[in-house]
Amino acid sequence: MGSTIIRAVDGVSLDVASGEFVALLGASGSGKSSLLNLIAGLDSPTSGSVIVGGRNLAGFSRDQLAEYRRHTVGMVFQSFNLVPAMTVFENVELPLRFAEVERSKRGALVTTALERVGLSGRLRHRPVELSGGEQQRVALARALINQPGILLADEPTGNLDSRTGTEVMELMRNLNESLPMTVVLVTHERDLAEKYADRLISLADGKIAADHVNPSRNAIRATSRADT
């Protein structure tokens, strides 16, 4: 970086309730990905706090952050971020290795996670042999495998055509409702966000420009809300 200090996220105050499906909207450079990285524990704030389940991530050590990423959050990315050298099975299994889950239990867990995202078979294939939509499903299965309470998605449909993009969003919506899982989605596609999210938050220049309940989906959600 140069000498200029860039405040990617500045003075943002945001509460997300457990089980909520939140969309962070904004143009590129608006700070939405930086905000997501803070929630994911990939980045630490220079000041302020990120409180998840009553614990402040800002005070976490590197090991505590790793532990947090392992068990509390699952992430999917625009570019899928699968390890190209590993098979589908191995990619989904990877977080189990870090979580030190016993080897004998892993097979069943991986299969269940892949079934949940609608993929079965092709376990021995490498990511390049799969379509974009399938790759994102594998990434979703990997995000779910350690049963985290929060799913963080950074432009998950950015590299997909609209049909597979819709499929992935449907899947996320489904996970949000059935598990239930808190979902924080970062996107610049307003219409996708309006179709699936409970709440729409717009960011511009690192600040929240708008925060409102999605009018098209405001009726259904349950109200059991603990601060997340």
Binding site: E67, H71, M75, N81, V83, M86
Partner: protein, 454 residues
Amino acid sequence: MKLYDSIELAARNLRESVLRNSLTTLGIAVGVASLVAMLSLGVGLQRMTARRLKSSGLFDTVVVTSRRDLRSFNREQEMNGPAAAESPDLDEAARRKIESVSGVLEAYPELRFITELRYEDKPHLTMVGGMAFSSKDSDGFEGLQGRFFSSENVAEAILQKSFAAELLGRAPARGPDEFSVADMAKPLLGKQIVMRYVERSSSAENKDSASYSVVSHELALTIVGVTDLDPDSVRGPARARLFIPEKLLEGLHVMQAYDYRDSTRATSSEPAYATVIARVSGAGKVDSVEQAIKKMGFNTFSILDANKGLQRLFKILDLFLGIFGSLALTVASIGIVNTLVMAILERRREIGIMKAVGASDADVRGLFFAEAGAMGFLGGIFGVALGWVIGRVINFGTNVYLSRQGFPPEQIWAVPWWLIAFALGVAFLVSLVSGLYPASRAAKLDPVQALRYE
């Protein structure tokens, strides 16, 4: 992350860029190989020397001299112990006493004299020495042509090679190595050689004085062998150039150069010896025998004293060979550092992914460590094998050279188990140390940066 997971992931990463990793592993293998080859050469040379010294009979020999006659080989010995004037005579009684020390198999005086020998009516002047019958099994006779004395008291002679050449009228132009022992033995074996000698004859009525008469004799000897080495050569390669059985020589009472010393002594008419050789039952007993003989008031010397210096020489040799081997290993470990640092650049994204799905710093570090360790381990195994082959080749080459020069084959190279274990351990440790920096660099990678990296 569990250890087996680290190893499994490391193994698959190593397989992914198999060319680069094999080259790195090869680098380590070459380093280890040179270490193993150098050290095994050092160990082999050391063992060979010890073996040759041992089989030459030198390790079980203690040389005893009287304090009255000779200064000690060892300054410390001279300073301690009784004064020369109080030291006993080294005579027949003393020889028996030395022979009775536990661990001593045999004690015999070292008898030598210069005399004239006649072979085919031509005179030849040379040194004649006694050869103990127990030298028969000594390795010093490895190159003996003909045979050893048939009994302890027989009139037979074994010639030193250079004397054989002289008898045949061959003057070696370029040193004694020019003729082979076998060539010279052929015309000489079985021939007669006449030795002249003077007997020291003590008259029976003159018991209390050290006077004696000198009587000249001739003795015909049969040449039975020609040898290259003198197995009793504690103090030099050629003690004498013609050997006759020790017991025979003792019986002849040949006038010795130091007998003049006896006549100045005037304490006893019994002849005293300049040197008595004590043969000990094993190298382990040499020290205690030496101590016991010293207590009697004599000076002693054994090759073990000299061998301490030799051992130090080999330690230094080992050290230097080890240093050269380590240099090769250092180059190899720079190879590991390079490979792993490159791997980090190449796998930044993968490290980012692993961190995003929950890998801790320790997990990432462990992974790179396991890769370095695996390369070191494999490199160590290949290296030991390679070093073994190199040593074999050197050994083979040396033996080809030796046999061309007319020498028996020799094992100049040895790979003991401790060396294999040591080399494997060193390879593994060096790799881990080399992996230290790349691994901690990988562990500290910022996941956000790493994921952004394309």
